[in-house]
Structures are given as C-alpha cells and as structure tokens.
Symmetry: C2
Subunit: 333 residues, 2 copies
C-alpha cells in the first residue's frame, strides 16, 4: 500500500506579509524506505518568525528555501517505520522535519526525545529552539549580573517569556514589553517585575519609570521603534542582544535602522547578534537545566496550538499580527 503525504512548499517569495498563494499544498506518494532510513509521522510543527527570513533570497545564516521546495520547519514526531538501527518504531524525534505529515529521514539532524518526561509541545517551545535561544542569548550574549535590569521585547512570545523568567532566576529585575493588556497580565503571572504595553502609550517614558537605573541588558526580538526607545535608556556598559526584528520582517520598505545607535558610544555599550545553531554542543546541558527549573516551578511554558496542517498559511500570520498567546505551533492530525 502506497502512503500519501501532504506538505506545503514555497510557491513564490512573499512581498510583505505572506499570502496563502505564496505556498502550495501538495499531495504525493511516499517512497518505500531504503536501508538506514526511517519514516516519521509528524505530530507538532513549530511556527517561528525566523521562517519569514528563510523565504527571502540573499545571503543569511542559513540558505533560503528554494521555490518549489518543502517549507522548512522544526517539528516533532513519532517513528512509525524504521530501517535505521538507532531509531526504533514507537520512539519520538525532533528536528527540521518540515511542513508535512510524514518525513522520510536518514537520521541526520534528528534528536530522540522522551515524551514521558515532558509533553511533546513543550519540547518545541521552552525546551526547544525558542527556549534555547532565550537561554544562550540571555546568558552567553547578554551576560546579566544579579541585581541588574533585563528588558525584553516580544516578551509574551516563545523566546521573550523565557528570557524574562531566566533573568528572574538569575536574580535580575525583568521588564517585559508586549502588545495589549492580556499579554502584559500574562507577564506579571510569570513573575516579570514590570510589563510595558507598547500599544498603550509612550514606551520611552515607561522604560524610564520601570528602569530607573537604566537598562543593563536589552534582549530584542522586535526592532524598529521599540529598539530605538530602549537605546535611549541604556545603562553604562549595557549589552543589547539582537535576536530578531519581527516588526521589520514583512517590510516592503527598507529596514528601519536604530537611529539612536550612538547611545552605544555614549554608554560604552554593545549590540551583538546571535544565532542559536552556534550553541548546539551545549543544547543537552541547557535543556537539562531548564527542565529542572520547570520541575521546580520556576519556569513556565505556554503553547498556542492550532489544529491541522492545512491551517499553516493563516496560522503563520498570527506571529506578525501579535495574535498568538504562547509558542505557536500546528498539531498535525
């Protein structure tokens, strides 16, 4: 019996916000497994702001998705057939399985996961790439010191919410910037010391109020006006971590550069970019530490799970309109 697979490929490079016609939903027959291969039934697919960048042409930290190619995505699934000695049927794996129902793999880049310890969605969220991005971006690049003030933008998102909680665990004051009262309420639930609603008024004044000694670490997921506001409130020797710039990803005009970048000079501060792949060798230790924090109730995770692979084009937009609450992912039926 031939098994059918369904998947999304990139049909056109989006201009501005991605449209449904930028993707093609395709059906095809799965090949018969060769020796050393395994078949994974994809269960949960991570939707991330970074996907928008992968759809663009041009040099980046990873090659662009080609037109007609399977949409790249991190995911988690169950092994349902295996001719690979290291992956048993019934086990679970995570990796870049793509936006599809089934993935055939030779095992490269797959990591086994144990669903008896943590629910599968959490492994794509706080114990997956977003959590690891928060962990290494904050601790290795931001280098917070107990007593300092850490501000994070996109604070209710999958990365930002973990940044603030790890800042608290490390004895820092955590201030989150997010859009709307509901998200700000969520930040306070998570233990953030202050939450700033960027839709509610003057971000600069709010930062002055909540960071009276200035910002020691600014972890930026957003860019644009929020980055510019934060730059005006840096403490001496502040570290700005450039993790992303979701406000700029769908621009059809040039990116808005940070007009206040000379604050780096005045404050002897730095702005540093980071890409999570560089820390791969340390992922297991970081996941172990974060799992301990979760078990101790110090680190909480929230997922926003959309049902159905075919919902991908609409679901992705929730990231850019700010509609998701927690780590956005698809559950594949």
């Amino acid at each position: 019996m031939v098994r059918k697979n369904h998947r999304f490929t990139l049909a056109a490079r989006p201009v501005g916000m991605p449209r449904p016609t930028d993707f093609a939903f395709e059906e095809h027959d799965l090949p018969v497994l060769g020796d050393g291969e395994l078949l994974v039934k994809v269960r949960y697919i991570s939707l991330d702001p970074a996907m928008r960048g992968w759809m663009n042409e041009g040099k980046s930290y990873i090659r662009p998705i080609a037109i007609g190619e399977l949409m790249r995505a991190g995911a988690i699934g169950s092994v349902i057939e295996s001719k690979h000695p290291q992956f048993a049927v019934g086990s679970h794996v995570t990796g870049m399985l793509g936006l599809q129902e089934y993935a055939v793999s030779n095992g490269d880049g797959l990591t086994p996961v144990d669903p008896s310890r943590v629910p599968l969605p959490v492994m794509l969220s706080t114990l997956g790439a977003p959590g690891l991005t928060a962990y290494f971006g904050l601790l290795d690049v931001g280098k917070p010191v107990a007593g300092q003030t850490v501000v994070v933008s996109g604070a209710a998102g999958a990365v930002g919410s973990v940044v603030g909680q790890i800042a608290r665990i490390h004895g820092c004051r955590a201030v989150g910037i997010a859009g709307g009262a509901a998200k700000c309420g969520y930040l306070r639930e998570l233990g953030f010391d202050a939450a700033i609603d960027y839709k509610a008024g003057d971000i600069k004044a709010a930062l002055r109020e909540h960071c009276p000694k200035g910002i020691d670490v600014f972890f930026d997921n957003v860019g644009g006006d929020i980055l510019d506001a934060a730059l005006t409130q840096l403490a001496p020797r502040a570290r700005v971590v450039i993790c992303g710039a979701i406000s700029q990803y769908n621009n059809t005009t040039p990116v808005k550069g940070p007009a206040n970048y000379l604050s780096l000079l005045v404050n002897r501060a730095s702005m540093t970019g980071m890409v999570i792949f560089d820390y791969a060798a340390r992922f297991p230790a970081a996941v172990a530490e974060m799992a301990q924090w979760m078990a101790a109730g110090k680190l909480r995770s929230r997922e926003d799970i959309v049902q159905g692979l075919e919902q991908f084009p609409q679901a992705l937009l929730k990231l850019f309109t700010g509609e998701n609450h927690g780590k956005l992912m698809l559950e594949v039926a």
Copy 2:
C-alpha cells in the same frame, strides 16, 4: 600690569553646521594667580569632531558646554607663571585648556609634556587624544588578529590614519575609506593595503573587491551610508567599533540609523561604542608604545595647523567639509 586674555565662548547652540554667530570672541582681564595656581600660554588647540556634540544639550558622556561658557578644547601650552609646586615656569602641559590664549589652572587634569622628544603638535595628534582613541578603540574594542581585515572610515583623519597604521603593525590587512584622490593617495603612502574613495562610486562594490573574506573589524568614525555599506560586508564574528559619526553631527533631521544592522545577527557580529576617557590609566603606556613605533618609522603623523585663535569658527568647519589634511589644530600666536 593686567594681562588681557582672548577666548571663544558658546553664544548659541548650533542648529546644523555651526555658524560664526554661535560663538563669541571675548576679551577679559586675567586674574592675579592665587597660591597653587599656574598660568599657561596656550600654543596649540586641538579641533575635533567631538566638539560638535559638546555644543548640544542633552545627556552624553560629558556635560554639554553651557551658553556663555568657554569653548572646551584639548590644547597644549607653556607655563609662563606658577605658584604651583609641581609646574615650573618654562615647562609644557597638555589638558582641556579651552579655546583661549591663556589658561589659569590649579593643575587638575594637566599632564606635563616634554617637547624635546616630539614636536608639540604631535602630542595633540598621534600621541594625543586621537592617537589614543585609535589605539584603544582598535586594540581593546576591535581586537584584531594578525591576518584579519580591518576597515576604517574617515581613514585620512587624525584617528583613522592611526587605526590603519596600527592594524598594519599588528599584521592585519588595512583598508581605508576617505573622500577624494588626495586623501586616498595619502593612505597608500602610510602603507594601507587599499584605499576606497567614497566620492568615486559604489562603496559596497569596492569593499567586496578589497575585502574578499569580509570585514573582521570595522572602525567607524563616519556613520550614515558608509556604516551601512560596511555592515553588508561583515565577516562572521566581526567587531564594529563605534568611535564617531561625523556624517551625522550637523544633521537637522534625525540621525540615520544603520538599516543593515541585522547583519550583526546573520554574522554573530557586535557593534560597540567607546569613549577614550575610560582608558586614562593606560595612556602613558600607550603613548610610550606609539612613540617607539614613530621612532622606528612604523607610525607617521600629519598635522593641519591653522594660524590664529580667531580662525576657530571657520577652521572648525574644515572637519565637516572634509577639507583638513591630517590632525586639525590652531596655533595661537
């Protein structure tokens, strides 16, 4: 006999390019020296891009010059009267003596200099604040490694010319960006591996040509389009040193932020500001090392000396129009 002093004070905060009416040229009687004071005849006054920032209101790394206050300036002079045990008549000193003929001082912030070793103008130039800015900005912030590519903007200026020469001394490839064929010829004379004339065409293409492996250290004195072009050509883990942004100092519109700052993310690169005052404890060692390089013919200095204190308002503009060749200073009659 009462001695007359002449000086420039700040009459108005400039809007855009400073105008002669932004300054007042004043004559006043010098006071009689008190115990612990000395009188310095100012000989050479340093004119620096940073002066433009000091004329603006607002928080910076140093307090703004007040309206009616003596224009702040680094200078060098001769002690002509002294009631201070540590400063003998006939000796020479450097410090923030200001834009005036004579300075009365209690000795705070003054450093003795020995004109028998190096001509006085060089002590305001390569062995003064500009040379020290180049030294610490390149070596401490830029952290160049032998074999890497160092690019400097404003390369024919007092700071930039020293950055390129120190890069060469440390075994790096030095590429300078300057305006016009004469300045580019000067860079080649100084031993730069390549000189890019930003007035002659496509800076990005020229950087690609002269930095085939990308830019490891970008030392920026200029900001604006040149910073943006350099950001597109960063090597992985590049360091961008923000020393100044002369293209933006006379803006009447907001500063142009670097639109390509997300290159920091893609390349895991950093952008760090620096202020020379932070390195004061290490100035003597740095001056000693640079003096050795000068004596060995590895480090050359050039000064552009304008005669007459009263020339200040016009002379200052040479910095912003790019007309100066070498470190700009006034010689006081």
